[in-house]
Amino acid sequence: MTDNSKEVSVMPDSINIEVAPVSRVEGHGDLVLNIKDKKIEKLIFRIPESPRFFEAMLVGRNWDEPSHITSRICGICSVAHTYASVKATEAAMGIQPSDFILKLRRLIFHHEMVQSNVLHVYFLAAPDFLGVGSVIPLVKTHPEVVNIALRLKKMANDMVRIIGGRAVHPIRTVVGGFTKLPTEEEMYKMKDMLKAAYKDLETSLAVLKTLDIPDFERETEYISLAQPDEYALYDGTIKSTDGWEIDSQDYLDKIKEKVVKHSTGKHCWANRDAYMVGALSRFNNNYEKLSDNAKSYAKELGLQAPCYNTFMNNIAQFVEIVHSVDDSIRLIDELLEDGMDENKRMVDFKIQPGRGVGAVEAPRGLLIHDYTYNSEGKVDKANLIIPTNMNYGNVERDMQALVPDIIDKPEDEIRLACEMMIRAYDPCISCSTHFLNVKLINK
């Protein structure tokens, strides 16, 4: 893994690894790991991320504002938040969008996923696997990889720009439909952009095949949306590999949350004490519904469902990119067949009181918004369940499993393996880049 792996290192009795952001100045995520007599004495995954209080910010806001407000929870998954929000509002008010609208929503939804998966696979994970510190040295050592990443990212962002009006915090994606539709010409343009991506996907496949993915296995509970007829991203029931499946509006029956002292993000659990969400969970629950092409990419990369290797999350993300490109072409063909007509952009609806739940797959996993509206169409109560929070417990348990296997390795390797593990989760981009400044104290 690292270049000093051949050195024989004499391990002290006790080491403390504190993977903390820049000299305690930058504050996003830390891993604290104390090892004594080759046993883990303390392991904490800590998120000192500033709390935002969106549940409070939503109270009293008018029905057309929550999607704009909650999209600002996360710039990188703003489309997912927008749609969890729009769907919660629509469910609360009994609004049923047309098939045409739902197809266009699925199309834009794919491309935030692609954009995020690209950023994660190529900018964050690839530098680890290719043995360089981060994406800046990667520009020098593997310019072709960086260029592919930038091209794919631009393709996905342009798709979101065309359909949503903006790449970050989309504008057109509102309750009831769209404020404006892409033109037929834009639809053809998007189709060309998608087709052009295949070459880069093939080249990426060749690069990814050469990566040395760490051997690691720990079976856990994998939770994601599921659908009988599609790889569920925009909609579905909530399904677990532990054998339960529920309607998304009943999420509180299974998903529990608690505030823990070292973290502003709440910890979640369901059937066991922790579970995993994200690409690997989606893959494990929905493998059969991937496009044939995506399945063959998975096969070439040695990814099989069910997969219990957290490090393979990155490979699952890549396989999802392939699926999204394939499925987008299908959706565009169907939408063009339906005909792009501005009259189809909205359905009629009435403002009504009620409670509604919107569940989607954000790039990092299951995301749930739950709103209660009063008779004036203002929010009385809101509850949000964020994917990054759901993974915290599972990250800690993976670490507990990983560290004993590598406890005899040099400290550098332990540190790198822990960082890679956290990055595999893609906890959120600002967290995942900051598990890098390691303070090592030998007692």
Partner: protein, 247 residues
């Protein structure tokens, strides 16, 4: 002469401003070669406490944020506030509207004392800010323009006219004609009227123009039976904090 060292820092926000910098795709490699990015919270693992220019995303909402922002202020010569959260407090200010303690209680219940949170403020409540790149998210080309201006030693040109000007230039149908409301007549342009371009009303994420009583598109408002005062009252989504920029 060495390249200027730039740090890009994230405070309380959504990371979307930093993402817009990454979304420069076509210009990203040029930017990386024109300046030395020594710190970029969202994108790189390298970090340094040696920089001349600090681009700051996010509001100041915790004691820890205050410590960090003061440290950055003691190092950087030039401070650029990037995005509504940094410029005016942005959407985060809705927490102040609700009440900081009440919000903590609602979200964290009896564990609220574990949470470090203070009243939301923009960056210029703590530091002298040299340049503002407004918007939520900001216009990524404007960020490049500010950096370029800094390199060339000139003042960046930030519009001080209403969004309506851009909107008309773009040939949009006014959304008032479509039965919606729009803060375009008082909002500061520079986004290329992004929301009206998508048949959506402007929510003034770039804040208000200087002297709205003089500079607003008053005729347009009058046509729809509105006054500057009427629409100023709808101005709290991105601008609920009191600060130098929004008075």
């Amino acid at each position: 002469m060495g390249k200027p060292k730039v740090g890009i820092f994230g405070f309380t926000g959504c990371g979307g401003c930093q993402l817009e910098i990454l979304n420069l795709e076509d210009q990203l490699l040029d930017l990386v070669s024109a300046v030395d990015i020594v710190h970029f919270t969202e994108a790189i693992t390298e970090h340094s406490d040696d920089y001349e220019i600090a681009l700051i995303e996010g509001s100041i909402t915790t004691e820890h944020d205050v410590e960090r922002i003061e440290k950055i202020g003691s190092i950087a010569n030039v401070i650029v506030a990037v995005g509504a959260c940094a410029v005016s407090g942005g959407l985060n200010c809705l927490k102040n509207l609700y009440g900081t303690q009440k919000a903590a209680e609602l979200v964290y219940g009896d564990k609220k004392d574990w949470i470090d949170t203070i009243e939301v403020k923009p960056v210029d409540a703590y530091l002298k800010v040299d340049h503002y790149s407004r918007g939520c998210p900001p216009n990524r080309f404007e960020i490049v323009d500010i950096v370029r201006s800094l390199l060339l030693g000139r003042q960046p040109e930030i519009p001080n006219y209403p969004v309506c000007v851009e909107c008309k230039r773009n040939g949009n149908t006014c959304v008032y004609e479509l039965g919606m409301t729009c803060l375009g007549p008082i909002s500061r342009a520079g986004c290329d009227s992004r929301c009206p371009n998508s048949a959506s009303g402007c929510e003034a994420c770039r804040g208000v123009i200087e002297n709205p009583n003089v500079n607003a598109q008053k005729d347009l408002l009058a046509e729809h039976g509105l006054t500057v005062k009427d629409i100023m009252s709808q101005f709290n989504l991105y601008n609920a904090c009191k600060g130098k920029n929004i008075e």
